[in-house]
Structure formats: structure tokens, C-alpha cells
Assembly symmetry: D2
Homo-oligomer: 233 residues x 4
């Protein structure tokens, strides 16, 4: 085992996960990113460069997660950033899509910890990415809000069960420079206007916060909003 | 339609749900209880008496919920009390059991609201039963904690989406006189000792709180702990 | 000592406190209301009728509270509803007014509990009235928001210290039919529009909630919002 | 004005405040620390070294704060760490001491922001130090718990009022290497045992977290616990 930091980013092929993975690679960490498609994941790993490897992983099938992660070695820092963009409402509810999202973000995330905890050390830490929808629902967020509320509690049981491994969650509002939002200027501008800071949340802000949660040795079991203060107004 | 209050209790064959249903029946309400087994549900409905009917419903199969609730008429008060006692830990995780619990309590509850919302009026209200495990994990509560955290957020999106219908949640600690706990004296005594009130939480306390949440016209979207203050210490 | 319930309402000459006191008097309780002016307090007590007495009390002078409450006998239910309408902002801050408000709502409330706790029984309960401004600041709410945040924590330490006496808080948004708001139709209408319930919060809603918090034997140490769900959106 | 970061630490002569001030001085920042005693404050400023100046400030007299801070220039980062160790209980309550603590931590902190906000820029940020007692009362914490609850709400109104200036709070449990706790080994060991991380919180952890809250441009209006996860169990 090297002295390098070993980082695993679940859902590392785009958005916040990819941004964080790249910042790690640039520091010289050993990085593994996962994504649904093996081809795309390996291609993104190559783009990120440094010591980055890609691994195919489908969180919607938790029974297969452990096998897919078999080749992962020591894990110092684990980031769970995979998501499933389910647009669902209670009035026009599609249960199958909701089950899929909840499986990815709740059962899938937990199964990743189940599989990787034996490869983590007493100094390891994990960060789960939730979302502000937990506290601020928006049209179509029925299952996203539910999943993010589940994340908020999941970090509490994981921090207790995996002690002394630290586990926390980051809950972003709209992150303006992700591929998903960057071509939706109206939503992005509304988010910036809603933030008390007068500027939108960026992937850089999120990477900075993820690193803080991973590295601070006394912050544990917390849910941190990163929203520019939007939830206050 | 009669002037009587029409109450539906999902998971009404035992525990808190049954206790609440009986209190409604004794007031003369029209009550429908649901349970997994048609035979047992009808039998419990008969025991409860008054204007109580039993209906078989399996929340673990959300696609079939709407059909199973087809014969329900107007709904003034809806209580979602069904549960699934999954003992799970991240160290020895069984994803299939976790998925089942999350499906029952999150997707299943939401699908019940989807099916019944059109039969609710502007004055109707719903109460979801979560649990204190959301904030206070215990050994084996991995998926219970996660589900109850999801409930905490679910009431927020439901209150927004179904406005002006009111939706709140009640989060009990161990309820000492339910069938599940009444033969576990050590756990019951520990819960009573942990409560600042020096007495255990009872089904009667929960029924009183559910009725309050259903009837107060300005309390909405809240998560109310009922734990004797246990979470403070 | 009689079998009647002995109720003390601090700040019982108007608004929520007076409304709750009247509902108690109509049930036949022994009621003591307090207010700043002895004359006005006795006059309101007479208007409320039943077994209601008035007592002068100035919460802004905590050192004198114990003496002013010397004649109070057994206390079964205690409601702390006194307030001080301080309009303050950080940009044009008047520290003396802020200190006065914080003294009334935080030190004054605590001193009332200090004075009356020896006259409470194991079955007694107290409710403190805070306000939604704790979580949703509005222009001019600098010290009101701060005080209500203090109330939110104060119930936690009081519930622990006075165990098994129960202590909780109610946090209303604008209560439309109080004397203060009833002549401000624009603010009232905005509050009703902000509520998911489509109707404004009333004193009757608050009295119903206060009674619930006082009477439910397992709800303890909680902060309950009563806002029609306004805080969710 | 120089390009250096201008830092003001209120309560910078010992504990967390001093530790943070020293870390700033070592980076080359322009640092002003305040303390009650002019002599001691100037002496500590000299010990810290770098570009550190000491300024006498008594938060318990808010009317005099603005004058005492008159010579402070531009403020990029403001940390409010001053405290008043009031041991108080509701059973043996000393209102005058409670008023003093609440004045220092709530009115005093707000008045500092009132005085310094005009010298802050759109990119400035402030961090208030509260404490875990807000959510986890301990014997003697009556007014400390209340004050820290007030801090929790104060950051919300300040973030709204001072937008786009960012304002957040850090809530530590026992910080083991402060002068106050370092000679109380039993309490320190209990705190380390209570932390899920198995190690006590240090001033270094707090400085790391304060810097994060000051520097992350999208984290705003949050209350961050730093307790090793103690509040979860």
C-alpha cells in the first residue's frame, strides 16, 4: 500500500462527483470513479488523468454491488455522489421510478458502505451527497425530497455503526455549472437570485465542502446545506 | 355521504394503528382499516366494532395499491401506520430487506396518498407514523432510521403538493403497550428510564397526538417526536 | 387544595395568552393571569370571568419576579406567553431594546420557572410561546428571531432540569385575530396566502395546540411550529 | 488598504479565538484580537506575533462597543468567540448572571456586527461560536444552552440582513486542549469517550472548521456541530 490517499467516488463520471475526483487526481491521490457504463466510466477516468481508474457500478442492483467493488483496495475517502433524476409527483405518481431512486440513493449507498467498510481504516471518512430538496420541495421532487431526507438520517446510523469512521452529508441546492443545469439558464438564474450570497452554488464550492467534511477529524454525522442561504428565505 | 368522519388507517390491525382506529370507532366514525391478510384484517375490524371495515392491502407492492383501495369513498382523516420490522445493520446488510422496508414506508405511503388524494377534501388531513430512530439510531436500525428520515422529508413534499390538505408525521420512541414490546420488559423499562417523564410512551399517548395533528387546522408539515424527551439526553 | 386544574398564564391580558386563559376559565379551571399593569390585569381577569385572578408581573425585572408570584399556589399548567414587540435590525441596532426583549423572554421566563417549579407536581407541564421568526426572519426581527431561537433551546434544558415536569414550546407565525394583527389586513392576508392551508393561524388554533402540549403525557421538550406549513415554502 | 486578509477575532485572548488568530497571523494576515483587559489583550497579541494587534472590548456593555471598535478598518473575516462561563440552573437561578451571558453572546455579538458591517465587503464573512449545549444540555448549562440556541437563530437573521455577507455558526462540544478544559482530565476523557470518533475535539479542529465556514462562498446561514458525533448517541 502506498502513502497516497485512496479515494473512491461513486457516481464520478459527471457533475459534483467528477469535479471532486479531478481535484483529487490533481493532488496525486489514487482515485477510483464509478459509473453505470463501463466504457464511459473508463473514458472519463482517462480524461481526468493522474492515477484515476474507472469501474462500472449499477447502484440500482444492490445485490451485485459487492462483486463490482471486489477489486477496490484500501479506501481513505469515499464520496457517494451517484444520483437518479426522478421527476415524480404525488398526483401523477410512478412508484417504480420512485423505488429505483430510493434503491440507488439509500439501499445502494448503504450497500457500498457495507462492501467497502472492511477496507476503510479508523481514519477513513465518507461523504454522501443529498440535496436541499429534503427541506425545500420543488415541483416534481416527491421522491428526490424523500430520498434526501433518508440520506439525512442515513448518515446518523452510519456514523454510529461505523464508528470511528466519520460519515456526513452535503446537501446542495442547484449547482449551476453541472452539465445538467448549465443549459438551463432560467433555473440557474433563479437559484442565484434565491441565494443570499447573490451568486449560484458551483461544483468548486461543493468540492471544497466535501474535502472539509472528509478531512476535519471532529465533524461527524452532520448534514451540511450548501445553498447560499436559500433555505432561510 | 354522511356527516360522519371518514377515517382510513393503513396498518390498522395492531399496535398504534389499531388503537387509533378503535378510538375512532368508539366516537362513531366510519373507519376502514387495512392489513396484509384479508382474513385477519376483517377479523380485527369485527373486534374493533362500530362502523369498522377491513380491507386487505400489501404496501410492498405499490403498483397494486390503487386497485386495492378502489372501494374507499371520501377520506377525512388518513393515518399511515403500517410498518415492516426490518433488523438490518451496515456490517451485515441485507439489501433486499431494506428495499422492502423502504418500499412499504416511503413508496407505499406515497402511493396511498396518490390513490386517496382525489377522495380527500380541502379539510382533510393525513398523519404518517415514523419513529425516533430517525434521530436516535439503535443497533439494527439501519434501514428503519433511513426510512424514518425519509418520512420526515416526505411530509414536507406532501404538504406542499397536496395543499390545502394537511400532512404531518409522528415519531414515537418505543411504545410500551404494543404487542411487539409488551413481552420485552427489559427494553420497555429502559425506554421508560430514558424518558425524562419517567414513564413509557403508550398507544394512548400516540392516539392523542395523532388526533391533534389531524384536527388542528394550522399545524401542517411538522415532524413531532413523542418520546418523553428521550432524545434530549 | 381543590381538584380543579390550576393554570397560570404569564402574559394573559391579550392575544394568545388571554385566549388560552379564557378557554381554561370556561372549563372551570382556577386561572391566574399576569400582566404588566395591575389595574389592567385585574380588569381583564374580571372580563374573562370564572375563577380567574389577575396579578401584576414585570418580566423585564427578573429579580422581582419571585416576590410578585409569592401568592401563587399549586401550578398544574403554566403558559408563558408574555412578549415584547421589539422592532430591531442589525443595521440600526438599539442594544438596550434587544436586552430588554431577551430579558423578558429568556431570563424572565426562566425565572418564572425557577419561582414556580417548587409549586408544580410530577404531572405538571409548561408551554413557552416562541415564534416562527426563529426559522424565518423578517425585516425588524433581529432580536425577536434571536429570542425565539433561545426559547427553542430553553425548553430542552428546562425539560431536562425539571424532569419529570414536561416543558415544550409553540412557535406561531402571524396569528391573524390577535389585537396586534387584526388591524393590519395586508400582513394578515400575506400570512394566509403563505400558509399552505390557505387560511391564517388563529388564537383558537394556538389554544388547541397549547392544550395538547400541556396534556399529552409523552410529548416533552419539543418545539412545535404552528404556521399552516408556511416554513416549507 | 493592503491585499492582506483583515481578520478580527472577538474574544481572541484564549481558547478557540486565540488559536484561530494565531493561525491567521502565521499566514500573514492582518489580525486584531479583542479581550476584556487591555493589558492582557496587548500582551497576547504580542505573543501571537505577526501583524496582530490587541484591542480592549467589553461585550457586556453593548452601548460602548461601537466606540471601542472605532479604529478597526476593513474587515474581511470576523470571528465572534468571546464567552462568559455562567454556571446556572433553573433550580438555583441567578438572573443577573444569565442576563450578563445573554448580553455578551447575543446582544454583544449583534452589536459588533452592527458596528463592523459597514467595514465589511460583499466577500466578507462572519462565524459565531456557539456550543453543543444548545442541543445537549448539561448540569449548569441553563443560560449557556439558551444563549447557544439564540446563536443558532441569530445567524439566520444576520445572514438575511447582511446579505451578501455570509454568516454561520460553529457549535463545539468540549474542546479538550483549551486552557479551561486541559486541567479537567475527567471531563475531557468523558468527552472523548462520548465522541464516535474516539478522540476529543481540539482547537485545531475548530480553527479548521472556522476557516472553512469563512472561506466557502456558498455555505451560509448554517449551524455546524463539531462534536465527533456525540450528539447522535
Amino acid at each position: 500500500m502506498s502513502d497516497r490517499t485512496h479515494v473512491v467516488v461513486i457516481g464520478g463520471t459527471s457533475g459534483i462527483g467528477r469535479h471532486f475526483a479531478r481535484s483529487c487526481a490533481q493532488r496525486g491521490d489514487d482515485v477510483i470513479i464509478t459509473g453505470r457504463s463501463e466504457e464511459r466510466t473508463k473514458s472519463v477516468a482517462h480524461e481526468i488523468g493522474g492515477r484515476t481508474r474507472g469501474l462500472a457500478l449499477e447502484l440500482a442492483e444492490p445485490e451485485r454491488i459487492a462483486a463490482a467493488l471486489a477489486e477496490v483496495g484500501r479506501v481513505d475517502q469515499l464520496v457517494l455522489a451517484a444520483l437518479d433524476r426522478d421527476h415524480n409527483t404525488v398526483r401523477e405518481y410512478r412508484p417504480a421510478d420512485a423505488i429505483r431512486l430510493l434503491t440507488v440513493k439509500l439501499t445502494g449507498y448503504t450497500e457500498v458502505l457495507h462492501a467497502l467498510a472492511p477496507r476503510m481504516t479508523d481514519d477513513s471518512a465518507a461523504v454522501l451527497i443529498g440535496g436541499l430538496a429534503s427541506h425545500r420541495p420543488y415541483p416534481g421532487s416527491t421522491s428526490v425530497t424523500t430520498a434526501n431526507g433518508g440520506i439525512g438520517a442515513l448518515v446518523r446510523t452510519l456514523a454510529v455503526e461505523l464508528s470511528p469512521i466519520r460519515v456526513s452529508a452535503l446537501h446542495p441546492s442547484i449547482v449551476s455549472d453541472t452539465p445538467f443545469w448549465s443549459d438551463k439558464p432560467a433555473a440557474r438564474e433563479a437559484a442565484a437570485a434565491g441565494a443570499l450570497t447573490g451568486r449560484p452554488v458551483t461544483m468548486g464550492d461543493c468540492t471544497h465542502a466535501i474535502r472539509f467534511l472528509l478531512e476535519n477529524r471532529a465533524v461527524n454525522g452532520v448534514n451540511l446545506n450548501i445553498d447560499g442561504g436559500e433555505v432561510l428565505i
